[in-house]
Amino acid sequence: MTKELLKGNVAIAEAAVRAGLEAYFGYPITPQTELLEYLSQRMTELDRVFLQAESEVAAINMVYGAACTGARVMTSSSSPGVSLMQEGMSYIAGSELPCVIVDVMRGGPGLGNILPSQADYFQVTRSAGHGDFHPIVLAPASVQEAINFVGLAFDLADKYRHMVLLVADGQIGQMMEPAELPPMRPLQKNVPDWALTGAKAREKRVITSLYLKGEEEEAFNLKIQKKLKQIKKNEQRSVEYATQDAELLVIGFGTAGRIAYSAVEAAREKGLRVGLLRPQTLWPFPERRISELADQASGCLVVEMNAGQMVEDVRLAIGGQIPVTFYGRTGGIVPMPDEILAAIEESYSRLQIAV
């Protein structure tokens, strides 16, 4: 396989095709529209389902319906569109259906703007719809990682019968980088044994999120919680750079994590003992590893393209062991490496490092 120069949105789309995507439903919104545009041609070429719905509300409910039949299904949108999808997302979680939802985040709240943002962290990890659940949330920082996570997203969705969100931001969606696409996987031959396929010569199957009796709803909730506990145990993912002897631990995800990498490299050149942890899963949050690193570090700096959302999860993971500071930009402004370096130097100077 050779590398190609691929735009993030297009790479995600083709990676989904190669992961065996059977049906896509969506509605255009910048900065993810190229994803939909690419699939409109590619899916048709392959005689698979592409449908531009009349709205995000319709698109997510089409995903819901198609997922009921056991099809590998996906939608994609950007922040305001994902807000519209929340009701459907909750029904999908309440029906335990696998699907992949891509959110190429943009500036908000409200209509906001189309620039890169990470302000949907709470929305995707906490409130992806009403009721008690978390989706699995994957956060790539490069075009290659986005490609890899698309395959992973479908596999995790199937494994846990659960919704997986892939969250990028406008920068990852629009950027071109050399990346390698995986080979084309064959489409699944058999649908899962819970899928609705028409109850001819078999017992009927029911997919629902409606449990009128309190005891039944509670039993179902306990089942979901058990599943989420398993996911939390098995699926925490993160990558690290120069954390071995780090006194200051920098944490950032996606684009912010990637820019923080440049800043941490520059800090190391200045002789500061700084390391980077970049969460790849936002839910489950890589709390085990962060807690371990907090045992050896003297302080932590969280960098995000929002007003401070993931920093709350970092504080929970660290549990007051070491001070946690925050640097963020909002409104679609992407921080430059020199600003993060300045924040690193400031946090570092405040550390009480035993010599």
Binding site: L5, Q171, Q174, P178, R258, Y261, S262, M336, P337
Partner: protein, 184 residues
């Protein structure tokens, strides 16, 4: 070694393509590269720009406040980015359309009448490739042969008849830059 380029001009001047051509060539040379466009709410008549970062190591930030090289194709781009070029860096100016002069003494300035040179080759639209040829002559991030290979490998089928014209435009820019360096 990380090398950062900014290309900026009117929509239609080919700044995105000039950046992409450089990115393709870097990729084919086995280097790490990122290309990122401006994609905000752009206005007709406003500027469009792209950043290209080339490195032999994994690239962190694909954008930078102070690029080593800024290639500006019109007056608004000159105004916006003249002050941003990193000290010791290069500001390449399409002097056919830009009537401003840089007062900076800590950078190299390369004025190239790219639009006129392209016109002399019979195609105004080649100004972007003329500029790239000139820039790489002065700031040899990649050899010209790498750009030739990238054109050959990645120019879409419907544009392949322009291959020779692109080579000529690259050489025209390089030749002009050589003459500037000699006379300096």
């Amino acid at each position: 070694m990380q090398k950062e380029f900014l290309f900026s001009g009117f929509g239609g001047q080919g700044v995105m393509f000039a950046g992409q051509l450089l990115a393709y060539a870097a990729m084919d040379e086995g280097l790490e590269v990122t290309w990122i466009p401006s994609y905000g709410p752009e206005m007709r008549g406003g500027t469009a720009h792209c950043f290209v970062v080339i490195s032999d190591k994994p690239i962190g930030s694909p954008v930078t406040r102070h690029p080593q090289v800024a290639v500006v194709f019109n007056n608004p781009s000159f105004t916006k980015y003249e002050g941003e070029v990193a000290p010791g860096g290069l500001l390449a100016v399409n002097s056919s359309l830009i009537n401003q002069e840089s007062r900076r003494t800590d950078i190299s300035v390369l004025p190239v009448p790219a639009t006129q040179l392209a016109d002399s080759l019979g195609d105004l639209r080649m100004a972007n490739v003329v500029m790239l040829g000139a820039v790489l002559e002065v700031f040899p991030a990649l050899p010209p042969a790498a750009i030739h290979r990238a054109l050959e490998a990645h120019l879409p089928e419907r544009r392949r008849h322009l291959l020779e014209a692109n080579y000529k435009a690259l050489e025209k820019g390089a030749e002009f830059a050589r003459s500037m360096v000699k006379s300096a």
